[in-house]
Amino acid sequence: MSWSSRLAALLPGAVAHDTGGTEPDPRFTFANERTFLAWSRTALALVVAGHAIVQLLPPFPGVPAGRHLLGVPLIVLGAVLAVVAYAEWARNQHALRRGEPMPKSNVPWILAATITGMAIVSAIILLISAVR
């Protein structure tokens, strides 16, 4: 399956008119929706954090680009996470309809790795600014 057809399958029209399988129990549909909303709030929290770092924190002495180095990746990750959360929701809904095993998700791993990386970069920037 090509990337374009995969993307086309994620559009709301294609998801809504997926007639394969049977309509799942409403509780599972709602649970899938809540999971999507939880990821959306995580994405919004990342955007808020990134924005606050860039706009509200005082500059780091000796690291003039430090705030942007920390804030911009968080905002970009927030944008990506929102789109990926929708794709995950569509995949899960597809599996629910067909009674298939829930697809494996790499999003929690990516989020954890990014937060760890950002924490390490923060520590380095703070150490450099403390030394100077």
């Binding site: 998801v15 509780r27 709030r41 808020v48 929708y86």
Partner: protein, 131 residues
């Protein structure tokens, strides 16, 4: 983990007051799933409002746009409640509207993040506001 299928009424699921006749009403939603989902939509709307408040401090126009999205998000969460699988065989309205509004939320958050990115890079900062 395998996707769960329609559980029977006696599967131990939680039920709200007056929700003891699953299966008789095609619009019936067993348990408190609808309430929890409604609350999740409310929390998402509040998260939008919080982001709008933060951005408002630096950029009034962008902040107001994001703040104005908050009630829209809340309203989206109220759409199609009760439009569950229909007995006459037609496709459920929930599936059609559900996919569209979730897609809208995802696109909105990505757009808001882009706006915040522009404000973060090109906007005037207030350094030390969190000191």
């Amino acid at each position: 983990m395998t996707a769960p299928r329609d559980p029977s009424p006696g599967d131990g699921a939680q039920r709200g007051p007056g929700q003891d006749s699953a299966g008789e009403d095609p619009e019936h939603i067993p348990g408190l799933a609808q309430e929890r989902t409604s609350l999740a939509w409310t929390r998402t709307a509040i998260a939008f409002a919080a982001l709008g408040g933060v951005v408002l401090k630096e950029n009034v126009v962008t902040g107001l746009i994001i703040l104005a999205l908050s009630p829209v998000i809340w309203q989206l969460g109220r759409v199609t409640r009760g439009s569950l699988p229909r007995a006459d065989g037609r496709p459920p309205v929930m599936a059609v509207v559900g996919a569209t509004r979730l897609f809208l939320i995802a696109v909105t958050i990505a757009g808001v993040a882009l706006l915040c990115l522009i404000v973060a890079i090109f906007g005037k900062s207030v350094p030390g506001a969190l000191q």
